[in-house]
């Protein structure tokens, strides 16, 4: 594990990504302690530029403090990104493992289901799902999980396909281990590295998907997220650059940081690619 940490931290981009991501997590967690009044409180006239008294990031189209909105927006983005990824990873592992381990009819059946989700344009499916479930944080998480699990499932299936006939698995089978135990204790730990890499990238994609949903007005209207901030301020772009630029930058920095972390993890977990 220390070798892994050393390999990960020796990459400057991975280190930077990790530091930025950690900082965003801290801001998200600390937001309610720093700003007790919450992001939707109207504090003054709308569209005041950054640097106005008490408004380091200016105010938005409704006269809300952009600084607070950005901090609370991080909570929404991270919550959706991480929860949706956890859900889709769990579903993906379960279905991918079953398909890869058992093969045959089970594999055929599960892979056809996976393909069914893959052939529908993902974002259109997401919009329909969220509109159907009523826009809310939960429906965004469920929707994003539903459109992303096939990626995990396919990776897990591929890993299981190649691992299931290895000697150590055969040995475990000869010892009389049950299938569930083989899957959970023998194959899964060995299949984890690619899953971790895929999942770390998926957090970023989930954040982007949530932002796009909120931009279109399909996010939770009671919460301010970075996407809904951009969507709501879109028409003010010409008179108040900060209302769209700052949340846009926040999304970009977060997703970039997560991609750096993902790349770092990929290199660190893949011995063949490490220098």
């Amino acid at each position: 594990m220390t070798a892994f940490a050393r390999r990960f931290l020796s990459r400057p981009t991975a280190l930077l990504g990790f530091a930025v991501f950690a900082a965003i997590v801290v801001i998200a967690l600390a937001a309610p302690l720093l700003f007790a009044r919450g992001p939707i409180a109207i504090v003054g006239m709308p569209l005041l530029p950054p640097g106005s008294p008490g408004l380091p990031a200016g105010s938005d189209v409704l006269g809300r403090n952009m600084m607070i909105a950005l901090a609370y927006g991080a909570r929404v983005s991270l919550l959706v990104g991480i929860s949706a990824t956890l859900c889709s990873t769990l579903v993906g592992i379960l279905l991918g493992a079953l398909a890869g381990y058992y093969g045959g009819l089970v594999d055929d059946l599960l892979m056809r289901v996976t393909e069914f989700f893959q052939i529908i344009p993902a974002f259109v499916l997401l919009m329909v799902l969220v509109a159907f479930l009523q826009p809310s944080l939960t429906s965004a998480i469920i929707g994003i999980a539903l459109i992303t699990w096939p990626n995990v499932a396919r990776v897990v299936r591929a890993e299981f396909l190649s691992l299931r006939s290895r000697e150590f698995v055969e040995a475990a089978r000869t010892l009389g281990m049950r299938d569930t135990r083989i899957i959970l204790t023998q194959i899964l730990p060995n299949a984890l590295p690619p899953i971790v890499v895929v999942s770390s990238m998926m957090v970023g994609n989930a954040i982007l998907a949530e932002s796009a949903l909120s931009f279109l007005g399909l996010g939770d209207p009671n919460l301010l997220s970075w996407g809904s901030m951009i969507g709501g301020a879109r028409s003010a772009m010409w008179v108040a650059w900060w209302t769209t630029t700052l949340p846009g930058l926040s999304i970009m920095i977060t997703v970039l940081a997560l991609n750096f972390v993902g790349d770092g993890l990929n290199d660190a977990l893949n011995p063949r690619r490490s220098r």
Binding site: A41, V61, L62, A131, N222, G232, W238, V239
Partner: protein, 525 residues
Amino acid sequence: MTLDRRAVLGAAGLLAFPAQAWAAPKGGRIINAMMFAEPAHLNYPLLNTRIMQEICGNINEALLRFDWKFKPHPNLARSFEMSPDGLTYTFHLRNDVTWHDGVKFTARDVAFSCGTMLPKVNPRSRNAFGQIASIVLPDDYTIVFKLKRPVNSFLISFMASNAPMMPAHIYEGTNFRTNPYNFKPIGTGPFKFAEWKRGEYIHLARNDHYWRPGQPGMDGIYFRVCATPEQRLVEMETGAVDIAMADDIDTVVSSRLKANPNIVTRSDAYNGTAEIMIMEANMRRWPFTDRRARAAFLHAVDREFMVKAINYGEGKVAHGPIPSTVPFYDEKALVKYPYDPARARALLDEMGCKPGQGGVRHRFGLMLVPDGGGAWTRMGHYVKQCLAEVGLDANLEAVDWPTQSRRSGNWEFDVDTNSYGEYGDPAIGTSRFYLSSNIRKGVPLTNLQGYSNPEVDRLFAQAALAVEPAEAQACYSKLQHILTYDVAMLWMFERYPLFFHNKRLKNVITGPNGPADGLGAVTLA
């Protein structure tokens, strides 16, 4: 009502059509205007929305024209008189008017429009024209309406957007919804339909045989499809487009155009529509069953700030059911609910709506409309914030258009956001929201709240039938008192949509009907 506009905006936002590259020739004697979305057809009374009024107002005209004080003036009618009992109206028509296809415009067209087509397809015409007992045509250019009972909004029903004249020789005996002329309309107006290039523009050409001397002042109008708000702003600023109507420009950026020396800003172009932004409380559900809860709602919201900040000053607080810009408004009759959170809390305490856990008195849904973050959504967000201060927890509900109409029509809401236009007379635009006879499940834009007061029903009926204006005024004054005392609606503010035009044009807005009166008088400045 601008429901359709917002519906299309929402849809356009989702589909995000790329900007059109096409541009009409700039400058010259052509007027360039914009459409946020294309209408389904150009049959004016069949789809009486704001964008239709703006386009078809140039094609189909009305018998009368109204000045800034809503006094009637001759248009297609040379003169008109009313019998003392208010039961007979006689119109003498101009005899020099022809339809765009060369056929003479006669009293037969008026009889067909007012007697058959308008009451059948145009909801706002039914109130007045539904009371017609008989129509007599003494000659080709005279028409006499005999009414079942007096209707004092009868004359204002001849305002352009309420009663466009339609050609009998084209529509009589046909299916109004499928008539091929819905796509190449025929009218008597200063501009005639020339070409419709789907997805790009609608072109109206000059009517060389127009009856009004010296008009039209320009050679034609192009209405270009311009789907995104950012694009519309740039088109105006560069001068590629001469006119931006109603909600073409979001109030958030209107300051940019107002400061532009090449652009004229008008805030009175929609006085005739007189739109009030409202929230409707479902009075079947506690606590909104109680007038004190509704009064507390109004006391809790700083509507002055709402106008100043949320709508960037383009409007005025609405204290009652009748907008302050139209006849019958009576400020003295109103019971007002100024911003006073302490009073709001006291009223809620008094009615037993007490703070529970976390200081929350009551949690309810506040249904938004999908206007893409526009004035209605901003109003909802602001109200949520204000109500939280007095312990009312409004949960904002984002819905799509079909859901919005279904839920509001079927009364499946606690509070919703909406707006209504008054259209010149309370009997046309206002009473439909308060009459108990208009509590019609499944029909949007009716009395959705379930407000019912027999005295209000009686006064609206009396006012609509009053022959003397003073009698109608007395009824409407009493109504404004009762309705504001009852808090029969959560009135937010009167919205004055801005109209912009390039300085190179003049005589663009000539009355309270704004661009719906057509652009015949426009000339180069």
